[in-house]
């Protein structure tokens, strides 16, 4: 009577894959205008903390908290994005990395708001909340052959899956539009883009803000998926991890960071049997990738070959 093959552990892994996918896309979006941001762990933490504080202390419903988290992260993105316009390449990367660290230190020290290193616990978990309200409405997951924890994990997965699909669809469509062409133009030649009448400042800040907002959105979902957050979740390691998703999977096509995030999140899980040497393997893998396929797993020619056609959109192209 039960759907036994539906294993919450696999759904759990899949859910984190999806959150990491969102993060991978977030760095890609900023990169689409030629800006490398390593501050996305910081924006993620802003989104996570905002919704955690609003839902646990101010009684916000979860969806409102998630929206608020994304918006606050976007505002932070604007605040960081505008002054950072002067910086390019490695300098922008390091400055945004610095921003992420500063945000983390502030969260550690601002105890009255964030609880410091102890973090915020008992954040409403989306699966459990959903189950609770459905049960109140008289629904039992057993009636569709699911155990309680299966239902919880499945609903978390489905919510995240829908969110991720929306985000990918959003940026896929944006990529092959006027805005996406403007992004690609800015990435390839800023001056020529200006001469084509593109407000490069606007589009750079827009892309930066979209990246920040998506990170914040991912962070908010993360908070409601794990129900506990602390500054330790948003360290330098997270920032680097997000970057690695994009560059490993491929930073020249939207699908690159998507697959990068999926593979690199699932891989350590698959490698659990050799868990002692997991990170050693991980490190070697990174080096090997860069040596043998530096543009990442997925690049536009590969996508075109797989799709059997030439890409029409400009947003999926790169200039370094």
């Amino acid at each position: 009577m039960a759907v036994d093959w539906l294993n919450p552990y696999h759904l759990q892994v899949a859910s984190f894959v999806l959150i990491n996918t969102l993060l991978g896309v977030s760095i890609y979006v900023t990169l689409a205008t030629g800006q490398l941001s390593l501050g996305n762990a910081g924006f993620m933490s802003i989104g996570a903390y905002t919704t955690a504080i609003l839902t646990t202390r101010h009684g916000f419903p979860m969806p409102a908290g998630i929206v608020a988290g994304s918006v606050v992260a976007a505002l932070a993105g604007i605040a960081v994005g505008i002054p950072s316009l002067r910086l390019t390449g490695v300098y922008l990367a390091i400055a945004t990395l610095g921003f992420g660290e500063v945000v983390r230190v502030v969260f550690v020290n601002w105890e009255s708001l964030t609880g410091g290193a102890v973090g915020i616990a008992a954040i409403p978990q989306m699966g459990r909340e959903l189950l609770a309200s459905l049960r109140d409405a008289g629904f039992a997951p057993e009636s569709i052959g699911l155990r309680g924890n299966q239902f919880i994990s499945l609903s978390v997965f489905l919510i995240l899956f829908a969110s991720t699909l929306c985000a990918i669809g959003f940026f896929f469509r944006l990529g092959s539009s006027r805005v996406g062409r403007a992004y690609a133009a800015v990435r390839m030649d800023e001056r020529a883009a200006e001469a084509a009448g593109i407000d490069t400042t606007y589009y750079k800040v827009l892309a930066f803000t979209q990246g920040a907002m998506l990170s914040g959105f991912a962070g908010a979902l993360f908070a409601h998926a794990t129900s506990y957050i602390s500054p330790a979740d948003f360290t330098y390691h997270r920032a680097v991890e997000i970057l690695v998703f994009a560059v490993f999977g491929g930073s020249e096509h939207l699908l690159g960071p998507v697959f990068g995030a999926m593979l690199l999140t699932a891989l350590p899980e698959l490698l659990r049997s050799v868990s002692d040497y997991r990170y050693i393997v991980y490190g070697i893998l990174l080096i090997a990738m860069m040596v043998f396929r530096p543009q990442g797993l997925i690049d536009p020619p590969l996508v075109n070959r797989l799709a059997g056609k030439k890409a029409a959109g400009g947003g999926s192209r790169d200039a370094a």
Partner: protein
Amino acid sequence: MFAEQLINGITLGSIYAIVALGYTLVFGVLDIINMAHGEIFMFGAFIGMVIVTKMNAPLAAAFAGAVLVTAALGYLLERVALRPLRGRTGVSHLAPLISTIGVSILLENLAHHIFGAGNQLFETPFAEIRFTIGSTTVYLVQVVILAVSVVLMGGLSLWLARTRSGKGLRATAESLETAELLGVDTKRIITATVVIASAMGGIAGVLVGMAFNYINNQIGLSMGLKGLAIIIFGGMGSVAGAMAGGLILGLSETFVVAYGSSGYRDAIAFLTIIVVLLLRPQGLFGRAAPEARR
């Protein structure tokens, strides 16, 4: 207390400076940030620890061993993670950043397996020699660290300015193609740069062990991030900038603890980066505008 804190700050700052020198040298020539530099430094510290504490060998042997091993690591890094990426078309400028991150993860976890997790005692009689000026105790190690950092910086500047290989290195830094046209063996120069930078990391590692008596496999990351902050602050590729930046960061971290709140100690480095980059993006001693470098 001021004098003591000043000494603390200078010691910390000198170590930062030596770590930053390694970053700045590689960036100056290759235009890339070697994210594995911190971990190479950490390896140097562990090799020094094994030689001095476990084998009871003299300190000079520790320096020699650390320099040898880190130089070898630098060579391997260049051969495995950097050279294959060089000169290939269509390679993102992020590729070397990622490959060196790969090396750093690898080294951090190798150190864990080889030397174990947790703090390891770095014990050397030399570290106990101290003298008192007025009410302030100064350890000889602290003086040595400052001296070594000054000597390294001076030596590096002289080497770059005066010697043939130094000039070749600067030419390579200006333009790889031009240097090649001028007959500079750029492959050798680049390898030498990474090896020298790594060896300096090895020296810094032993010095850290002597100064703080303990090392663990995480020091690479924390020192590495500080080193990164310093070269932004001092100006990428600037030797004087690394030195000044290191000292300023060491002193300000110490004095924030002494007269302010220790919780924000780690934020200083990064806050400084942000402010400096926005007000003077080329850094304290940098010349080229950052827009020129991609």
